[in-house]
Each structure stands twice: as C-alpha cells, then as structure tokens.
Amino acid sequence: MPNALSVGLGEMIISRNAEDVLVAFGLGSCLGIGMYDRRVMVAGMVHAVLPQRDNGGDPLSPKYVDSGLDALLKAMHEAGAQRDSLILRVAGGANMLVAPGMSSFMNIGERNAAVFAAKVVTLNLAVQAHDLGGHVGRTVRLYVANGRLTVRSMGQPERDL
C-alpha cells in the first residue's frame, strides 16, 4: 500500500522512500511543484501559496513560489539529486473567482504561475510538464517509486502529467 504524505499549505516534503506518495490536496491558486530524480529515486514537492516572499523573509520558505523553488532545488541536491537528471513539473495556479468585477481582483493563481515561469529561467531549469491556470481545483500526486505525477480535478479522472 502506498503511503500518502500530505504536503500542506506552505510546506515542503522530500522523500526517498519508494512507498511514499507526496500529495498536495485541493490546489486552487496555489502551486504544487514536484521534482524527481529517477537515478536516485528521490522526490520532492512544495505547496506554494503566494508568488513572492517579502524582502527579509526566509529565503528558503516553501510558502512562496520563488523561495519555494530555491528550497526545493537545495533540498533535492542535499538528498542526492543531480541537476541534469531532475524532472520538474508543476500544477495549480487556477483563478477560482470568476464573478463579474472580481476576476482581475487578486488573481494570485496567475501571479503564482508567472513568478514560477520567471524563476525557472533564473535557475536555468527545464519544466518537463505543467498544468496551470483555468478555473478548477487540482490534487497533485507524486509517486516516489517511479516519479509518476498525476493531477485530478473535480468530476475528472486522474491523469498523468
């Protein structure tokens, strides 16, 4: 039986245990960022809430997209992952509010996705797959055993990313 580890709001989990599945449940505007190294079978996931950390904030806080990516990359390296065998995938960043007059207000999802796109360029990382934007919630699962990453939305079958 796989062992589901919930990656909560603003958290990061790294695992080398093949039994583990890292899960970010019910992402709306948040991003579920998954990294995997097939060679050493290590997986990491960040559940980032907001786009950018404040100046002076923890430079490795997983709560933010920018510092979360830094934290994930660092923790993966420490767990033995190599940059050239890293697989990076991301899902989330939806805009849940689609009422008249509200859509432009607080589109955190879009800002999260934009900061992610800019940050991977800065870090010179390739994004293998992404499922961003739209107006639906997502649950993201990353299997440590084989690096499989799935996305599920309400009323939709789970699909591989």
Binding site: G8, L9, G10, F25, G26, L27, G28, S29, C30, V49, L50, K63, A94, M96, L97, V98, A99, P100, G101, M102, F105, M106, I108, G109, V136, G137, R138, T139, S153, M154
Partner: protein, 209 residues
C-alpha cells in the same frame, strides 16, 4: 494571537463578534423568510478562531467537494465573507430555500446556484446591517460569486488574502432550519485589519461611555 496591526483578537473581541453574529444571523433569517415566504430560522452561530493551515480539514478536507459563496465587503469595515457548504449539503440547502422536497435538487444548475447565491447575499447583507446598528459602521456586500470545487481550491482565495494579515481567521457556524429540516453552513469572516481595529475601538468607546 495578534494580527499584523497589533490588534489582539482577544476573547472579549471574539465575544463581541459572536454577539454581532448572533444579531446579524437573526436578522438574516428574517430576510430569508421574506424571500421564501415561510419561516426560516438560523441557529445562533458559534464563532471560532481557526488556524489557516487547519481550515480545510476543519471543513471536511481539502479535496472534498463543496460550494463556496464568496462576497467582498465594501464600506467602512471592508473584508471578505465566504459561506462554505459541503456539496451534498448545498443541494439540501437549495431544496430548503427553494421550498421543494428534500432530494429534489440533484445537481447545482443555474436555479440552485442562484438560490445559494441569494442565501449568501441575504445573510451577509443582514449581518452587516446588524453590525452597522451595533457599531455605527456601515458596509455592504458585493454581488456573490458561487464556486463549486474542491474545498482547498475554494479556500485558497481566503488563504491567499489572509496570509499577509494573520495566521487565523474567524469561522462562524450556523444552521438553517425550515419546517423541521436543518442544513449547517459555515461562514469564513475575513475582515481587513483596519476593520477589526475599528470594531475594537468602537466597542471600547461604547464600554467607556
């Protein structure tokens, strides 16, 4: 606990908010009754302070399907209100306010969504009227937005806006009752920091008067 502005969200303030909520909900029930033309009661709500990271679990889990009715509050005490109901309960609530037998609504079509939006709208409007009469601070709700999705995704809106303010928010539990039927709903209240300050200072003024 203290929010960023340093205003303590202390027991006394919580009690005050609970008092306002009680009065507001009482008025909201009257409004609902007018809408459906029959007596609807809403139980006296309980106000609890919930940690943001535990919010989704408190409401049934981040992946569970639910309905969120979201309103922005504009005026002297700006903020946001989200009414949260689990999916199955939302169908029951739609039946209840539409005055049809329980089990009639099988999915949330435009009629059911409008009915739920109206519940959120009325509840918020009457609630704010009660706050206004108790504090002299006026505010009104925006048109409601209805979201049907995973609870975690709906709550992200709340999380994203409050993360910079504090680590907890006010959750208000209330039940809608009509002709022996009962549906529980939760309201997340997210006053802007300045709104909390104002309410706190008004209550101090009235206490000192």
């Amino acid at each position: 606990m203290t929010n960023e502005t340093g205003t303590p969200l202390d027991d006394r303030l919580l009690l005050l908010l609970e008092l306002m909520a009680g009065e507001g909900i009482h008025r909201a029930a009257e409004g609902l009754a007018t809408m459906v033309g029959e007596e609807v009661t809403i139980t006296r709500p309980k106000v609890v302070l919930v940690r943001l990271v535990e919010l989704a679990d408190t409401l049934g889990g981040a992946e569970s399907e639910g309905v969120g009715i979201y309103l922005q509050v504009v005026g002297e005490i700006p903020g946001q209100v989200v009414m949260i109901v689990p999916y199955a309960k939302a169908l029951e609530l739609a039946d209840l306010v539409l005055g049809v037998p329980e089990g009639t609504s099988q999915e949330l079509g435009s009629l059911e969504r409008s009915a739920l939006a109206e519940v959120g709208n009325l509840t918020a409007a009457f609630f704010l009227n009660a706050v206004a009469s108790m504090t002299g601070l006026h505010a009104r709700p925006s048109p409601p937005a209805v979201m049907v999705d995973m609870l975690g995704a709906i709550l992200d809106i709340v999380i994203a806006t409050t993360e910079g303010i504090g680590d907890s928010l006010l959750l208000l539990d209330a039940s809608f009752l009509r002709a022996g039927r009962e549906v529980q709903a939760r309201f997340c209240m997210i006053p802007d920091p300045k709104a909390i300050e104002l309410i706190a200072s008004r209550s101090r003024d009235s206490r000192n008067a």
